[in-house]
C-alpha cells in the first residue's frame, strides 16, 4: 500500500506563489503580504476543524484567482508591467534580427555557392534571376525553419524560461544574460555574412561579383516581399481576432 502524502502547507504556498510570480503585476512585497494573509486564513480555518488541504483550498479561493488579482495589482504597479512588456519587445526584436541575419547569410551563401558551382559549366547557366529564385527559396525556408523552431521552443519551454527570468525580480542579471545569449548568434550571423563577402571578392572576378550581388538582391527582395505580405496578413488576422473578443 502506498502511503498518502501528508499535506505540506509550505510546499503548497510556494507553488501558489510561483503561479502568481509569472505575472509582472506583483512585486515581491505584494506576494509576501498575500502569503502572510493565506497563512492567517489557513490557520483560522484549521482552528474551525478543517484539514490542512481543505483550509488551503478555501483560503486560496477566497483570496481570488491569479488573473483577477493580476489585473488589480497591475494598476498599482504599472511600471513593472511596462518594464516587462518593454523587455519582451526587446527580446522579440533581437530574436527577429537574429533570424534576419541567419536568413540573409543563408541566402548569400546559396548565391555564392551557385556561382562557384556553375563556374566550370559556363557563365551562361547562372543568371541573376535563377540565383535569385534559389536565394529566395533558401531565404524563406530558413525563415520558416527558424520560426518553427523558435515557436516550438516557446511552447515547450516558454513557462520555465519566463519563470527563470522572473525568479529574481529585483535583479536585471537574468534578462541581461538572455539578451547577451541572443546577441552571440546575432553577431556570429553578421561575421558569417562578412566572411561570405570576403570570399566572393577573393575568388571571383568582377563579372561574378556583379552576378552574385544581383542574384542576392533579387533573392532578398522577392523573399522580403513574400515575408512582408505574410506578416501583414498575420497582423490583420490577429487584430481581427482581438477586435472580435472585445465586442
Amino acid at each position: 500500500m502506498e502511503a498518502t502524502t501528508p499535506f505540506d502547507l509550505n510546499h503548497a504556498l510556494a507553488e501558489w506563489r510561483n503561479s502568481l510570480q509569472q505575472s509582472p503585476a506583483f512585486c515581491r512585497e505584494n506576494l509576501d503580504e498575500l502569503e502572510s494573509h493565506l497563512r492567517d486564513s489557513v490557520a483560522n480555518l484549521q482552528q474551525r476543524g478543517l484539514s490542512g488541504s481543505e483550509a488551503f483550498l478555501i483560503a486560496t479561493r477566497r483570496v481570488g484567482g491569479a488573473p483577477a488579482l493580476g489585473t488589480e495589482f497591475g494598476k498599482i504597479n504599472p511600471g513593472n508591467v511596462w518594464l516587462n512588456r518593454a523587455l519582451w519587445m526587446l527580446i522579440g526584436t533581437l530574436v527577429f534580427r537574429f533570424i534576419s541575419g541567419l536568413v540573409s547569410s543563408a541566402t548569400m551563401g546559396t548565391t555564392v555557392l551557385g556561382v562557384v558551382l556553375a563556374r566550370p559549366v559556363g557563365s551562361g547557366v547562372t543568371t541573376p534571376l535563377l540565383l535569385g529564385t534559389l536565394g529566395a527559396f533558401v531565404h524563406l525556408l530558413t525563415f520558416a525553419a527558424a520560426l518553427i523552431l523558435g515557436w516550438r521552443l516557446l511552447v515547450r519551454k516558454g513557462n520555465s524560461i519566463s519563470a527563470w527570468l522572473q525568479r529574481e525580480p529585483k535583479s536585471l542579471a537574468r534578462p541581461a544574460a538572455l539578451v547577451a545569449l541572443l546577441l552571440i548568434p546575432y553577431a556570429s550571423a553578421g561575421v558569417l555574412q562578412g566572411c561570405g563577402m570576403y570570399l566572393i571578392n577573393k575568388f571571383s572576378d568582377g563579372n561574378q561579383t556583379t552576378m552574385v550581388s544581383a542574384g542576392f538582391v533579387v533573392g532578398t527582395a522577392s523573399a522580403a516581399l513574400i515575408e512582408s505580405a505574410g506578416l501583414i496578413l498575420l497582423t490583420l488576422l490577429l487584430a481581427r481576432r482581438q477586435l472580435l473578443t472585445k465586442i
Partner: protein, 112 residues
C-alpha cells in the same frame, strides 16, 4: 450580498473606519468587516491589498512590516491625518445617502 459596484465604492470608507479602531493587518481587517456586516460584505480578499497600497500612496494610511505575536511577519496599517480628513468627507456623503433613503422608505412603509 453587496453588489460589485457598492463593494468597490464602500471599500475605502470601510478600511478607514476600521483603522480608527487602531492599527491592524489585512487579514484581521477583512475579518472585522465580515463580522460587523454579519457576512453581508464578502470581499474577494486579495483585492483589498491593491486598495490598501493605493490608499498608502495617497497618504491616507501608512504601513510597517513587524513581527507579530506568532513570530511571523505581518504588514500593519494605520491611519494618517489625511485619512481622518477623508473619512469625515466620506461619512458626510454616506450619511446623506442613508438619510435620504431612510426618509423615503419611512414614507413608503409597504415598499417590500
Amino acid at each position: 450580498m453587496l453588489s460589485k459596484e457598492l463593494v468597490a465604492a464602500s471599500t475605502v470608507p470601510l478600511v478607514l473606519s476600521v483603522l480608527t479602531e487602531g492599527e491592524t493587518y489585512g487579514y484581521a481587517l477583512i475579518q472585522r468587516v465580515r463580522e460587523l456586516s454579519g457576512g453581508q460584505i464578502e470581499w474577494t480578499e486579495g483585492m483589498l491589498y491593491p486598495v490598501l497600497h493605493w490608499m498608502e500612496r495617497e497618504e491616507l494610511i501608512e504601513s510597517e512590516w513587524r513581527e507579530s505575536e506568532t513570530g511571523r511577519k505581518r504588514k500593519y496599517y494605520q491611519l494618517r491625518k489625511e485619512g481622518r480628513k477623508a473619512l469625515l468627507e466620506e461619512k458626510q456623503q454616506w450619511l446623506a445617502v442613508h438619510e435620504t433613503l431612510a426618509k423615503l422608505w419611512k414614507q413608503q412603509p409597504r415598499l417590500t
